[in-house]
Symmetry: C2
Subunit: 376 residues, 2 copies
């Protein structure tokens, strides 16, 4: 079945994916919060439908293209979780007028002013959330910053709908112990709730308190005050997540099917047709406990081959070698030209984005194709 697939190709192990979906959903239900999956990882309607079927409500997107594609497929409750550029408000307006409950995000008075101006000119009430910075790694206003209240007032007095606050503790990706993960999860929660409380104390509406990243969602012990959690990569998982400690490599549902095209036996290299164009240039494990190069190597059956990684990569060449640098000249015998291998990715979001579709391996062994999209 795999033999008929032209390589390199993106594979989804459906059983693993369904297990990952169930695990996150059960956890969110145990913590009594709504799960709003981030679709930026798979960018695939079929995957999102399975998340919704398991109990997720609404989606999170990273681009307006995602909002447009998912709305066209029937998803009408969408949070665009990147601060909006004012030039994009026309596309937002078009989606909202077509019936999409699209919420946008800002973290500045300048952007609030732009939204109010646009909303008044178009006679439209935008749904807006304020990004809160809970770990200093990216966008957002700090919970105790005066700007938080100022932004809220500009929106509210300007007639826009202030829906709440959201944060993403991206620095959870730098953690690797359960203790550190629990700590950053609690920091994400408590600081975002603090922002919500300040808005409410200023008599501003703040119904939604949205937090999340895959590591914090899987590590939080309590989510008091939080109404929803966003997470994306958990649906596939990847080697970065395995190093962080929230999954094992054999739970990773995404892999790249590759074919052996040659060897350099004296160097212990097996060369495949899955280079960085297929794996992406993401080297997220480079600074983690286990550096997997450009990916961890499995047989065509999906089982890890211990110690074998894609050590280096060119655009269309992946150089498979032992991770410890030792030379095994027998690799040529083990993996002759034409052999198919499967490579687990460092970062599923980046690797999946190199493909236009997935080959989905069902529990019964059958393969179907699901399309995905890219772009903005």
């Amino acid at each position: 079945m795999l033999a008929a697939i032209q390589t390199p190709a993106a594979l989804i192990d459906e059983a693993r994916m369904m297990q990952n979906i169930a695990r996150m959903q059960q956890r969110m239900e145990a913590l009594s919060v709504r799960l709003r999956p981030h679709v930026k990882t798979p960018k695939c309607i079929e995957v999102a439908r399975r998340q919704q079927a398991a109990g997720a409500r609404g989606i999170t997107v990273s681009t307006l293209k995602e909002a447009e594609e998912f709305f066209a497929a029937g998803f009408d409750d969408v949070l665009y979780a990147v601060c909006i550029a004012p030039q994009k408000l026309d596309r937002v307006l078009a989606l909202r007028r077509a019936g999409c409950a699209l919420t946008i995000l800002i973290d500045s008075v300048a952007a609030a002013d732009a939204i109010v101006t646009k909303g008044r000119a178009a006679d439209h009430v935008f749904d807006v959330m304020i990004e809160v910075d809970t770990d200093g790694h990216r966008s957002g206003v700090e919970p105790d910053d005066d700007a938080l209240i100022e932004i809220g007032k500009v929106l509210h007095r300007g007639g826009m709908a202030l829906k709440g606050v959201m944060t993403h503790a991206g620095s959870s990706y730098d953690c690797s112990t359960p203790e550190a993960l629990r700590q950053i999860a609690e920091q994400e929660r408590s600081r975002c709730v603090r922002a919500a409380e300040r808005l409410r104390a200023a008599r501003l509406p703040c119904p939604v308190v949205s937090v999340g990243s895959t590591p914090t969602a899987l590590s939080a012990l309590k989510l008091d005050g939080v109404t929803e959690v966003r997470a994306g990569v958990y649906v596939f998982f990847d080697l970065v997540m395995a190093n962080i400690g929230v999954c094992t490599p054999d739970e990773v549902a995404l892999s790249v099917l590759a074919t052996v095209i040659g060897h350099q036996a004296d160097k212990g290299w097996t060369i495949t047709d899955a280079g960085w164009m297929a794996m992406s240039r993401d080297r997220g494990t480079a600074t983690q406990q286990t550096d997997y190069g450009y990916g961890a190597v499995c047989g065509a059956d999906g089982n890890l081959i211990d110690g074998l990684v894609v050590a280096t990569a060119n655009q269309e060449h992946g150089i498979v070698a032992r991770r410890d640098g030792t030379v095994d000249p027998r690799l040529r015998q083990y993996f002759p030209v034409g052999t198919q291998l499967r490579i687990l990715p460092n970062h599923a979001c980046a690797t999946a984005a190199q493909f236009s579709h997935y080959h989905v391996l069902g529990p019964d062994g059958a393969a179907t194709t699901w399309s995905r999209f890219n772009g903005w």
Copy 2:
């Protein structure tokens, strides 16, 4: 004009691109070799047509998808410069039977056997070249390896057309002085010619001797014995090439148009909507003389803003800051929310691949759209 483009978007400065095309073509003509451009960088019919109009002959591809797309657009002289997986021979056969003069590449007796078997079964003579390893960085047989002659004999006796030898001195990317570049260019030339001479001495045909990479093509002082040069990234150039020393940043023809979406003034950060999904995860300048982070920042006019880079990136966030780490809190005044910036890429092949089309800025200021493609 740029204001109407939704960001992030890939821009081509057409005047710079035409200058880059002319420079390489003139150089190849001065060295009396044919230029067979590698289309893996732009993957764009319009770009390739301009290279051919300037005097290039034939194209080099890195995937069969490129061969198929370019053949459909009228390019019928194609070298697929990655060692072939036997499973791909049916697609090669289909292209050749449709009239495409597609040459394939191998570096092992195993692959030669597979081609002979396939050719005989299909009653077809494949055009085949042998990859030569001239710098130990990837695929290929060494010029003095017995396997070189053995592969040639298997092909020739098996009735296939042995077209010649080709090499790519990818380690030229590790050079940064004119002397080192001239040395690796001469090593690439002399070792590839050596392989051709050995084949001919064994009474095997070897009409084509193909070498190339952008750095070696622009550094070779002589190309005696070489019949063609392949180069790809020169058409756009990028910051890696600037660090190597074969172009300057203001010759880079590809940039990513971004829009400012926020600031963290106390950190000296300006945040744009061009994250790593737009720039790619390529950090090729990280180990070079000047580390540009995820790209060098220009104004919307395309002029570099000295010292400003995309210091870090998330999927859809690019964090612009001073390269030297100093904090300039005035960036918020210089670049208010909504400001457009242009980012020069580390590696044009990787950045361009994140987009489905280019916005081409002509010398007259008008913008047109050229499509590109991805995948395999």
